[in-house]
């Protein structure tokens, strides 16, 4: 029992050490011998545009469901007119960034984990390394930066669709013009609702890219490890998003809302 715990602790510390080294390698290689612009743009396209559909659908449903769920309760208190305000604040501050990032973790982190894992297993990464090319710069830097750049944009699109979903939800049982709905939504928002949430999504994007690359790059040999890399990338990225969100909420409360 004691030996098992010791072994598990050892593995945890080794993993932390490996991740630290991997992060250091990422930062060291960002601008070493130029920047891989073509691959970065290709990854932005794959990560951003190819994820847009699922993110837009999720955003719409989020706003729609949130409205339908909260409307009856607010109606009981005679506060039905506050539905747009409530939906807007919930979406911008919390639901939009977290739910969209979790969707991205499922789609993007697993994709990167599987792709790099497969490249590792078929010795493509070793071939790059042995040829004198820099696999960290070509494969890892571009993917992590593309995630860091694209996830916040995807969250913005998801937020916009959530507003639209909220508007549709409001008008299923009620009657509110689009102009009034969106005016009420934006009137309730202030800069300090947008800014911390936006910063948070940058961090989430980095976490998704980093975890996907780390898990894929460190896949053991064998086809089974490709599946394991993809699966563990999703799990780890999702946990990271939730943990980082909790941290971000605390920091925002202290530094932005002075609570």
């Amino acid at each position: 029992m004691r030996e098992t715990v010791t072994l598990k602790l050892k593995n945890v510390f080794e993993d932390i050490g490996d991740q630290t080294q991997f992060a250091a390698a990422f930062f060291r290689n960002i601008f070493r011998n130029g920047f891989e612009w073509n691959e970065f743009i290709r990854q932005c396209y794959l990560i951003g545009l190819k994820s847009l559909n699922i993110v837009l659908i999720t955003g719409f449903v989020l706003g729609f469901v949130l409205t339908l769920q909260s409307q009856p309760t607010l109606k009981d208190f005679g506060a039905e007119g506050y539905v747009p305000n409530m939906v807007a604040i919930s979406i911008i501050r919390e639901m939009g960034p977290v739910i969209t990032s979790l969707i991205c973790a499922g789609k993007i982190a697993s994709g990167i984990g599987a792709e790099l894992g497969s490249m590792k297993v078929t010795e493509q990464i070793s071939a790059m390394d042995v040829s004198g090319a820099n696999p960290i710069q070509y494969l890892v830097v571009t993917r992590i930066l593309a995630c860091t750049f694209m996830v916040p944009l995807l969250v913005l699109f998801a937020d916009a669709m959530s507003f639209f979903g909220g508007y549709v939800g409001t008008n299923i049982s009620g009657d509110m013009t689009g102009i009034l709905y969106f005016n009420k939504s934006f009137a309730s928002l202030i800069f300090s609702d947008f800014f911390p949430a936006f910063i948070k999504t940058i961090v989430f994007g980095f976490a998704i890219g980093f975890v996907g690359c780390y898990k894929g790059y460190h896949a053991n040999k064998g086809t089974e490890s490709v599946g394991i890399a993809a699966n563990s990338a999703v799990v780890a990225a999702s946990v990271w998003i939730i943990v980082l969100d909790a941290l971000a909420v605390q920091l925002t409360s202290v530094f932005v809302y002075n609570q």
């Binding site: 078929t122 010795e123 070793s126 071939a127 042995v130 040829s131 004198g132 090319a133």
Partner: protein
């Protein structure tokens, strides 16, 4: 005779398993050295140590006069440019076309920016391996033999002084295997490269080898030409040559 690679008393263990138990090897300029041995004896580990993919526990590996374990990241990269490594399954980048596979080391390793030069080098090397009409194909469209040729083309395009072949004919039929073996000989003539060829394929060994080393249990136990080893009185050595 110039020594290109010199390995002395190379030892390597993985966890508790000692894989290399004091390997000594010399590769001379222009030579094709074949390494034979059963699976799991340490042949691939030896060549992976040569390019610094695996760090040895003990011993010395000198490539072109430089001690591999003493090199920093930049120096190791510079020496790797002079060593071509053909992986067992060719390790083609499957998200890129054949053309992009060839351009990859030119742009990133040799820092060639001129597209016309990249194109002409790609055509030249594809002609050398007999795949002139495959430049715009994807690696997934190539047959097993074509993939090996393509892998060799990507290795050759940076004009290495040394080529390490990790089982170049594995998984190929006899005719294609023979073609690849003759291609290895042609490449030596054309590119003046020295090679270490790890193989189980006796036909490949017979065609390509100037000298053969036989590895068993992490050490080399015999050395000689194909004919010398074929006529050996040692039963273990003979077992490689009997069909």
């Amino acid at each position: 005779m110039n020594t290109i690679i010199q390995i002395e008393n190379l030892k390597k263990s993985f966890n508790e398993t000692e894989v290399l138990k004091g390997v000594n090897l010399t590769l001379n300029k222009g030579e094709n050295l074949v390494v034979l041995g059963k699976s799991g004896q340490g042949k691939s580990v030896t060549i992976q140590c040569i390019v610094g993919m695996i760090t040895q526990d003990e011993g010395s590996i000198k490539v072109l006069g430089q001690e591999i374990k003493d090199l920093n990241e930049v120096e190791l990269k510079n020496i790797r440019v002079k060593i071509g490594f053909l992986f067992q399954h060719a390790a083609l980048y499957d998200s890129m076309t054949v053309r992009e596979n060839l351009a990859f080391p030119l742009r990133r390793v040799l820092q060639i920016k001129d597209e016309a030069e990249i194109e002409s080098l790609s055509i030249e090397v594809m002609k050398a391996v007999g795949l002139s009409d495959c430049l715009d194909k994807n690696p997934s469209d190539l047959s097993g033999g074509q993939r090996k040729r393509m892998g060799l083309a990507r290795t050759l395009i940076v004009k290495p002084e040394i080529i390490l072949y990790d089982e170049p004919t594995t998984g190929l039929d006899t005719i294609t295997s023979k073609e690849i073996s003759h291609l290895i000989l042609d490449i030596r003539e054309q590119y003046k490269a020295s090679s270490i060829i790890i193989t189980h394929d006796m036909l490949c060994a017979r065609i390509t080898a100037d000298r053969i080393l036989i590895m068993n249990d992490g050490q080399f136990i015999a050395e000689g030409t194909y004919t010398e080893l074929e006529n050996s009185n040692n039963d273990f050595i003979n077992s490689f040559f009997k069909i």
